[in-house]
């Protein structure tokens, strides 16, 4: 299977939240049966954040202008990084890369340790206290395996979301950025080609990364260091064992003799003992 990716083009997104609900529909994610809280922003974002039962939301940001506003939308969900901090952090191997690049949590293996939650530079995985499991977008791996698009993508009408061969998505994104720049969106740029070894969610941010809330040059914080620490630790322990083994070998058969002390005379006597 070739590497595939989702392409999100913010300039085509109408923020209808179709993808948001399609995700819930396909992945059978419940929503509360009552809701009387102020759980949205004045810019129409609701819910406010990802959750164990919410794997995708559209983020809304607005910037005031003389006439109207700049309304900048962003698809907030897993980026399916090639260098996936969550996967590195997972102590039980529950998070894995699929051949197409999707990063998937195997719920049968997840132990709810939340290491991935702490490690993700995009703050994507969410821990469900009741189930003691962590959840996130899995790029509808069941659908893509069957040759379908992820639910969010097939639900998108303006082709703000596309899915396909990663190289092709990158090519489309590159061309789109050029188009947007020509149309006056000077800050238009793409995201995901190189970041974290290459993301499997490519973004065209027509008003620039910052306007859409994207992290420029994201880093894996410490989790990669830990990756390096593991083998080092293994080596350290192995070296210790080897060293001690050598010591044991060298000291075999050594008898140090029988010590005795006469406190009255303050005399120390060492009596050789036979081997």
């Amino acid at each position: 299977m070739a590497e595939t990716a989702i392409l999100y083009d913010s300039s085509k997104c109408t923020a209808c939240k179709g993808c948001q609900v399609a995700c819930k529909q396909w992945n059978q994610l419940p929503s509360p049966l009552t809701n009387d809280e102020y759980t949205y922003t004045e810019s129409f974002q609701a819910p406010l954040d990802l959750a164990p039962n919410t794997w995708l939301i559209i983020n809304f940001r607005e910037e005031d202008k003389e006439v109207g506003i700049d309304w900048n939308f962003m698809r907030n969900s897993c980026f399916h990084c090639t260098e996936a901090a969550c996967e590195m952090a997972c102590p039980v191997g529950a998070i894995s890369h699929k051949e197409n690049g999707a990063v998937v949590i195997d719920q049968d293996k997840c132990i709810g340790c939340r290491y991935c939650v702490a490690s993700c530079p995009f703050d994507v995985p969410r821990w469900d206290e009741a189930k003691n499991k962590t959840f996130k977008c899995w790029q509808c791996f069941d659908r893509t395996s069957a040759g379908r698009e992820p639910a969010c993508v097939s639900s998108c009408h303006t082709a703000a979301l596309q899915f396909g061969d990663r190289a092709e998505m990158l090519a489309i994104a590159r061309e789109r950025v050029d188009q947007l720049k020509a149309a006056g969106y000077d800050k238009a740029e793409m995201y995901g080609e190189k970041e974290l070894g290459g993301l499997h969610t490519i973004v065209v941010a027509h008003r620039g990364l910052e306007a859409h809330g994207l992290i420029r040059d994201p880093k894996i914080g410490l989790t990669d260091f830990w990756q390096f620490l593991k083998p080092l630790g293994g080596l350290g322990i192995a070296a210790t064992v080897a060293g001690l083994g050598l010591s044991y070998f060298m000291a075999r058969g050594y008898n140090r003799g029988e010590y005795s002390y006469d406190e009255k005379t303050d005399t120390l006597t060492v009596k050789e003992v036979e081997k």
Binding site: P91, R114, G236, L244, S247, S260, Y261
Partner: protein, 222 residues
């Protein structure tokens, strides 16, 4: 035969408890540390291991704190005897430690006070690392109470500390349990009746042994 009562029953009990806690923490932690092990044993076992890890973590943290409360004098003794002096003998001991480890028959050590400087270093490191691993452990146990950055550091440190503790632990066991030929019989000190024979005491802690034998308070003759 003469023996010196080196460790009280209380100290030995505490050591027993901490040994068990520590080893089980290490074992259960290792399951989480090596994903393939976790994958192989299955989620139920992993979850069991996490539960054991947490129970043991509580013991690991509570036992020493409790001992301080129950026996403050013992703690002061432990603390003073391990860390408080550093004389020429100690320096010499440290300088000769590695040659001694590999050429124990030829390398002779200067007489030591109640604790060797090597012990001071190793045990001190263990105490220090244990405190640290406990703190980081609590953080990753309740990540929602801390910032992502703190949790990330804790995750990393917890693992790193485990490795360091592992290294010191191996050495500690190697020596303390008397696997190292010259240390034969040391296991009795913490895992047995807490007594050290006159000969062993004089070999390991010459200065201290002479003092004890002179004082006679802790000397048992059988």
């Amino acid at each position: 035969m003469r023996y010196i009562q080196r460790h009280s029953a209380f100290a030995r009990g505490l050591h027993w408890i901490h040994t068990i806690a520590c080893l089980s923490l290490f074992a259960t932690g290792l399951i989480l540390f090596i994903p393939s092990v976790a994958a192989a044993v299955g989620v139920a076992t992993v979850q069991g291991a996490r539960m054991v890890h947490r129970v043991m973590a509580v013991i690991f943290i509570v036992a020493p704190i409790a001992s301080i409360i129950i026996s403050p004098k013992g703690f002061v003794h432990f603390w003073k005897s391990l860390f408080f002096k550093w004389d020429a003998d100690d320096k010499e001991f440290m300088a000769k430690f590695f040659p001694y480890l590999f050429f124990g028959a030829k390398q002779h050590m200067p007489p030591q006070r109640i604790n060797k400087s090597g012990q001071g270093v190793a045990d001190g490191a263990l105490v220090f690392l244990s405190v640290f691993i406990a703190i980081t452990g609590v953080i990753i146990w309740f990540p929602e109470l801390f910032s992502t950055g703190v949790v990330r550091w804790s995750l990393m440190l917890h693992s790193g500390l485990m490795i360091l503790i592992g290294v010191f632990m191996l050495a500690h066991i190697y020596l303390g349990a008397g696997i190292f030929q010259p240390y034969r019989g040391s296991g009795r000190l913490m895992f047995g009746d807490g007594r050290v024979s006159e000969s062993d005491a004089l070999y390991h802690w010459g200065t201290w042994a002479k003092e004890e034998l002179r004082k006679g308070d802790n000397v048992i003759t059988e």
